[in-house]
């Protein structure tokens, strides 16, 4: 191994790649501009649709209740809902989204309440439909108030204080520091993005420097040089790694810059913020605890970058080896394309709520990285797991690099026809 040779090959590949529009797009433009823009747009659109759904005054059909005019009157006067007469096809109307909710008030509802019975009111809705679910929430709030009033009236009649039926109050308050809250909310998403971009960042340079060179006839020119094959592989591999790590660095810089520049506007509104955060967290509930706005621990980001480096080496070596086998860039693309799914699957599992780092999940490649990064971003530093995951990632990376060197020396791969 000769560092002068490796540096010569690396510097040439770097210069060559910096002049290639497609490499620049995949390594710099997509992570810097497209990804944050995409998330911003998705977040804004989601936030605005959630806000619109909440502004919608749900249409509620009341079935029955003619023998309880007082209850009906209160229903019609309730704020935040519009009561209409129930038609025969109210079920179809809910399915067609022209009616949000239907409420079935049982016969002699008011009389049965007075008699001390426990009548049951049914609420019909469209499960999973945002506006219908919103309508259910409004109706439930109205019925809860009606029940509270009934209880208060009964207590007054019995000469008992209000506290007899509600002996104490409770409320929740967040004590976790903002970086832990932020880590918990975004912790799954950040490693997911970084890992995905690490792979896509390695893909194009890997294809260009291997199958692309074979296709253009420059590989044979290069192989005529007296430089040992291992030096050629390492010089080229370092360029692929540069592509992978650059994509990660650019996405971090652009995300941080987006938060710093546009964050104030994004994180200033209550409901808007919650919706945007919910959109970014994809599967997180929209309720955010009150208190300071969530942030991400900068030390956690440094930890994530350190953990991702061996995985970037692994991706670079794998993408390099697989592309090397192909005769053309098109063929290499058809091999590497499906590999994205193999990267996304375990990584995205780490985003799921409730997925924790355990001795079992610590053994699943990429999922373990996703989970340990999530923990680090929340300020949890489990050194045992960190050591195991970092060590195993380094081992996988070493094996992949060894494989790349071996493949480069095989003439049936290099001169495959």
């Amino acid at each position: 191994m000769n560092w002068r040779n490796i540096t010569t090959v690396y510097v040439k590949e770097l210069k060559d790649s910096l002049r290639d529009r497609r490499t620049l797009i995949s390594v710099i433009v997509v992570p810097t501009i497209v990804m944050p823009l995409m998330f911003l747009i998705v977040g804004k659109v989601t936030a605005s649709s959630v806000a619109k759904a909440r502004e919608d005054v749900p249409t509620v059909a009341v079935i029955g209740g003619t023998d309880s005019p007082e209850v009906l009157k209160r229903f019609r006067e309730a704020k935040g809902l519009r009561v209409v007469d129930a038609k025969a096809d109210w079920r179809d109307a809910i399915a067609a989204k022209t009616l949000r909710v239907a409420v079935d008030i049982p016969d002699r509802f008011a009389a049965r309440l007075e008699a001390g019975e426990v009548p049951s009111v049914r609420i019909y809705h469209y499960q999973g439909e945002l506006k219908s679910e919103n309508g259910v929430r409004v109706v439930e709030r109205f019925l809860a108030e009606l029940r509270e009033d009934t209880v208060a009236r009964r207590l007054a009649a019995a000469g008992l204080p209000k506290g007899a039926a509600r002996p104490f109050e409770f409320r929740r308050e967040n004590v976790a520091p903002p970086e832990k809250v932020g880590g918990n909310l975004f912790g799954g998403l950040v490693p997911y993005l970084i890992i995905l971009l690490c792979f896509t960042g390695a893909m194009y340079p890997a294809m260009d420097l291997t199958a692309g060179e074979k296709e253009r006839g420059t590989m044979e020119t290069l192989l005529c040089s007296p430089v040992p094959r291992v030096d050629l592989v390492l010089g080229k591999f370092l360029m692929v790694l540069t592509g992978s790590v650059s994509a990660m660095v650019f996405v971090l810089i652009s995300t941080t810059a987006s938060i710093l520049i546009g964050g104030a506007a994004l994180l200033s509104g209550g409901a808007g913020t919650r919706s945007a955060v919910a959109a970014a967290g994809a599967m997180r509930p929209p309720e955010l605890p009150a208190g300071p706005l969530p942030i991400i621990d900068p030390l956690g980001i440094v930890g994530v970058m350190a953990m991702v480096v061996p995985v970037a080496v692994l991706f670079a070596a794998l993408a390099f080896t697989v592309s090397l086998f192909a005769k053309s860039q098109k063929e290499a693309q058809s091999y590497l394309g499906p590999m994205i799914v193999l990267v996304i699957l375990p990584t995205s599992l780490g985003v799921l709520p409730g997925m924790e780092l355990t001795p079992g999940t610590a053994l699943v490649p990429l999922l373990n990285l996703s989970l340990v990064c999530k923990e680090m971003l929340s300020g949890v530093w489990n050194w045992g797991y960190i050591g195991i995951i970092f060590g195993s990632s380094c081992l996988y990376a070493g094996v992949a690099l060894w494989l790349a060197v071996r493949m480069f020396g095989r003439e049936e791969v290099m001169f495959r026809t």
Binding site: R4, T8, K12, T218, L223, S225
Partner: protein
């Protein structure tokens, strides 16, 4: 000097089984001579030359190039060989100067030596006007001159040409042929593969006819004419190939 001793290369194909790219090919090329390897497409020329340039490992037999064994010291062999083929392309996004410099560095030359050699080659090949232009913006002739400069930047004692005029126009082909002659005049050991009879007639001191991976005959043009009683090289070639049984392997 080049000395091939029973060079054999066997490829395995799933459908066709074992295929001999070259079979027991032996020849010797002295410094200051051009050895022409004449054969049809698929005859085994490229396989033989790739083994000499250490791009492929011989299945059997060996070759000594400029005093080094191709199997035992491939890196040393490549350092003493200039390999120019129709299939060896240029990096489109590098300039002609960068291309020459890159291969100079890969051959262990210092920056000062590369600068001096680039100037010398540029003057000799008339590359001054396009030296700093990207290779993808060069004409075919300019590209071929750049390829030649890339091949000889380290001044190798052995030159291997594998169908270097394939697909070139007359003027560019003449530049290449002129360069091959210059190599011989400079005392280099030259091996030149082609299927163009006129090039062999014009250039080669010794001709080796290869077919189906086997070297069928080896002699100077005048010896071949006397041996077969024919004057036209094409007629001699056809007779040899038909005598070996078949038009191609």
């Amino acid at each position: 000097m080049i000395e091939a001793r029973q060079l054999t290369k066997t490829f395995r194909d799933r459908k066709r089984g074992e295929i001999h790219g070259a079979l027991d090919v032996s020849f010797r090329v002295e410094p200051g001579t051009i050895y022409g390897l004449l054969g049809a497409n698929g005859a085994g020329k490229t396989t033989t030359l790739r083994m000499l340039a250490t791009l492929l490992r011989p299945t059997r037999g060996t070759a000594v190039v400029a005093g080094h064994d191709v199997a035992a010291e491939p890196d040393r062999v490549r350092a003493r060989v200039g390999f120019l083929a129709a299939s060896t392309a240029l990096y489109a996004r590098l300039t002609a100067r960068e291309m020459i410099g890159y291969f100079g560095r890969l051959n262990g030359m210092t920056d000062a030596a590369i600068r001096s050699r680039t100037g010398e080659l540029s003057e000799r090949l008339g590359m001054g006007e396009f030296l700093d232009r990207r290779c993808d913006q060069l004409s075919t002739g300019m590209k071929q001159k750049t390829s030649i400069a890339r091949t000889i930047v380290h001044d190798p004692p052995v030159m291997i040409f594998d169908e270097p005029t394939l697909g070139l126009d007359v003027m560019t082909a003449r530049t290449v042929v002129g360069f091959v002659r210059e190599c011989r005049a400079a005392g280099k050991t030259v091996i030149y593969s082609t299927h163009v009879m006129s090039e062999v007639e014009k250039l080669c001191d010794v001709i080796g006819v290869i077919h189906g991976g086997r070297l069928l005959a080896e002699a100077s043009l005048s010896e071949l004419r006397a041996r077969h009683g024919l004057t036209d090289l094409e007629d001699i070639f056809v007779r040899l190939v038909e005598g070996a049984g078949g038009e191609s392997k």
